[in-house]
């Protein structure tokens, strides 16, 4: 049995099913991100783990112990809130000491633990400040120190970085991950930012409409998305919907809905994809090669409609066979010599495409 076990967690609000049989199991020390658009149930899931919401069905256990019947204050779970929720009438030191005081530690121990926690988040010397005298990043650190100082069995982070500006945010991401690894605490992080989830996590659960669409390592979720939602939400993707015909050695013909067809690279055995199998081919913008050579075995011909330059990369919007595809190239080659309106050949490798059922 894993360290954190969430089984068939289900919840309805006023007849609306907001969570539908959520299953998660996490090994100790894992950093899990719950990723999804707003209203997907990620926050509700986390609030249930914290004990602020109760589930209709399902169970949650930590370290083999069920926590379903425990109120929040008996669950031994640390939480960093989206707004940080620092107590405004207390100093930094008092905020951090708050949880320790509930554990009835001696004054000396509390002072020592508070000092250690503030040192961990590099806020030594800020003990007597009030929260409103701190910057957003500093408030964030206090909230983290406050949540970790009681040595909880689980750490919950509720979109905790979203209020910070971009540079500070990536600095905090690294710091957060380093602290998390150092103390080895099992962590659940709620976010709608896929880049942040990719950066921080050992494991990502992509959620939509109360269900987990896919759960796996950032690599798995990105390279092998389970469906078009995951492929489109985690990073970007081009989708070609059609039927597979003429499945042969190394390639197959994909007949698109609009009647056009192209040869796509194909390595799977034909038996898994009988003639006429409906499929959605997904391929990432950065996996598509652009060439002027039109003699390739697979791929498609297209016309560059629009070019976006963002410094490190170029994004080409290409119209091909009545579809619009995004192609992204690093700004490191001669690729950018392509011009708007130019005809190009688009090609990709079999291992870079995913055939999806939905």
């Amino acid at each position: 049995m894993a360290y954190l076990e969430i089984n068939r967690l289900t919840k309805s609000f006023h007849g609306n099913r907001v969570l539908d049989r959520i299953d998660i199991s996490l090994e100790k020390g894992t950093f899990l991100s719950l990723l999804g658009p707003s209203g997907c149930g990620k926050t509700t899931t986390m609030r249930m783990v914290a004990g602020f919401e109760s589930q209709d069905e399902g169970t949650i256990s930590i370290g083999g112990q069920s926590i379903d019947s425990l109120p929040p204050y008996k669950r031994n779970i640390g939480m960093v809130f989206q707004s940080y929720a620092l107590f405004p009438h207390m100093s930094v030191a008092q905020n951090v000491a708050y949880g320790l005081e509930q554990q009835r530690l001696s004054r000396g121990d509390i002072r020592k633990e508070v000092a250690n926690a503030l040192e961990m988040v590099q806020l030594t010397g800020y003990e007597q400040r009030k929260p409103k005298q701190l910057s957003g990043g500093q408030q964030q650190r206090v909230a983290l120190a406050r949540a970790l100082v009681t040595k909880p069995s689980l750490l919950l982070l509720d979109e905790s970085l979203s209020a910070l500006d971009k540079n500070l945010r990536s600095a905090m991401q690294i710091e957060l991950r380093m602290i998390q690894k150092e103390i080895g605490i099992t962590t659940i992080f709620v976010t709608h930012d896929q880049e942040e989830a990719m950066t921080l996590s050992d494991c990502i659960a992509v959620m939509r409409a109360g269900r987990i669409e896919q759960i796996g390592s950032p690599h798995e979720v990105y390279e092998r998305p389970a469906n078009t939602f995951v492929a489109g939400f985690v990073g970007q993707s081009n989708f070609l919907k059609g039927a597979l015909e003429e499945v042969g050695e190394g390639r197959a013909r994909l007949v698109l809905g609009n009647g056009n067809s192209l040869f796509v690279p194909f390595t799977a055995t034909g038996s898994a994809y009988p003639q006429g199998t409906e499929t959605i081919l997904s391929v990432r913008p950065e996996k598509i090669r652009l060439t002027r050579d039109t003699s390739a075995q697979t791929g498609m011909k297209g016309t560059i409609k629009f070019i976006t330059y963002v410094g490190s990369t170029f994004t080409y919007l290409v119209e091909a066979l009545g579809q619009e595809l995004k192609v992204q190239r690093q700004n490191d080659s001669n690729d950018h010599s392509f011009r708007q309106g130019e005809d190009v050949w688009l090609a990709w490798n079999a291992e870079h495409q995913t055939l999806l059922a939905e």
Binding site: P72, M79, A85, P88, H89, Y98, T150
Partner: protein, 273 residues
């Protein structure tokens, strides 16, 4: 200077004409020996401090206002707390229910209480029906208790509203943060909710205590012989005895007490902010 400052002129004019000037006229009277004439004197103030009865009445008034404030607080806090945290819909209706009595004359309300509290009144009938009292008269009318009951009724809405507003500002995430830090509901209330609602409690106390000091309608109607307070002394001086000079002096002593109590309460509020 910014020309917008002239936008304040109507209000400043009103304040000067109808507040500051009359106040100075009253100060002037309080130092005169006889009506609008006579000579300059501090005798009016001396009278107040030399006569035992006035000091006793002052103490009685302060004590009564204190009781009214404490009882209002004990009633208002739980009410505001429930309104903020438990009741989902109908908050506005409850607030309206609290505010509507404001639109009724204080006099009418005092007489209504007389009907409720008097011997043979509604309260007595009700209590007897419930077998909570014997057959004797209730004996509540014309006592300090009756005055305090009516005053609480009149002033506690100020307290409910100010406490409600300060409680509503307490971020729910703070309560959850406290619980996630192993604090039970009682500790969370004592260490988070209560301190953060303190500004509302203090302003509520000021809004109840200060007008209670100057009240005269309720003591007059419900207090009988027990109902003499500073407010009624002033009223008598102006309307019954025509001792304007002494009345004005007592008014300023009352004003001094009010300013002093506000200063004390405000300091209380600043302590931790």
């Amino acid at each position: 200077m910014d020309r917008k400052i002239w936008l304040m002129s109507p209000a400043v004019f009103l304040l000067l004409c109808f507040c500051v000037v009359p106040l100075f006229i009253m100060v002037y009277y309080s130092f005169l020996s006889d009506g609008t004439g006579g000579h300059w004197t501090v005798q009016n103030y001396m009278d107040f401090f030399q006569k035992d009865i006035y000091l006793k009445l002052t103490w009685k008034t302060v004590k009564m206002s204190f009781y009214v404030t404490v009882i209002s607080l004990l009633i208002s806090y739980p009410m505001a707390y429930v309104m903020v945290s438990i009741i989902q819909g109908g908050k506005n209706m409850l607030l309206m229910a609290i505010i509507i009595p404001f639109w009724t004359s204080q006099l009418v309300r005092a007489y209504s209480w007389q009907n409720l509290l008097r011997d043979g009144g509604l309260l007595e009938i009700g209590l007897r029906k419930l077998h909570l009292i014997g057959s004797g008269p209730l004996g509540l009318m014309f006592t300090s208790t009756a005055v305090i009951i009516a005053m609480v009724h009149i002033f506690f809405p100020y307290m409910v509203i100010t406490i409600y507003m300060s409680l509503e500002k307490v971020d729910g995430a703070l309560v959850e943060a406290s619980k996630s830090l192993k604090a039970g509901p009682l500790t969370t209330f004592r260490r988070i909710v209560l301190p953060l609602s303190k500004p509302g409690i203090i302003s509520g106390c000021i809004l109840v205590f200060v007008p209670s000091l100057g009240v005269f309608v309720e003591p007059r109607i419900l207090g009988g012989t027990q109902g003499t307070v500073i407010g009624t002394v002033i009223e008598d001086q102006f309307f019954e005895i025509y001792g304007w000079n002494f009345g004005a002096a007592v008014s300023f002593i009352l004003l001094a007490i009010i300013l002093l109590s506000m200063a004390v309460l405000s300091r209380f509020a600043k302590e931790e902010a």
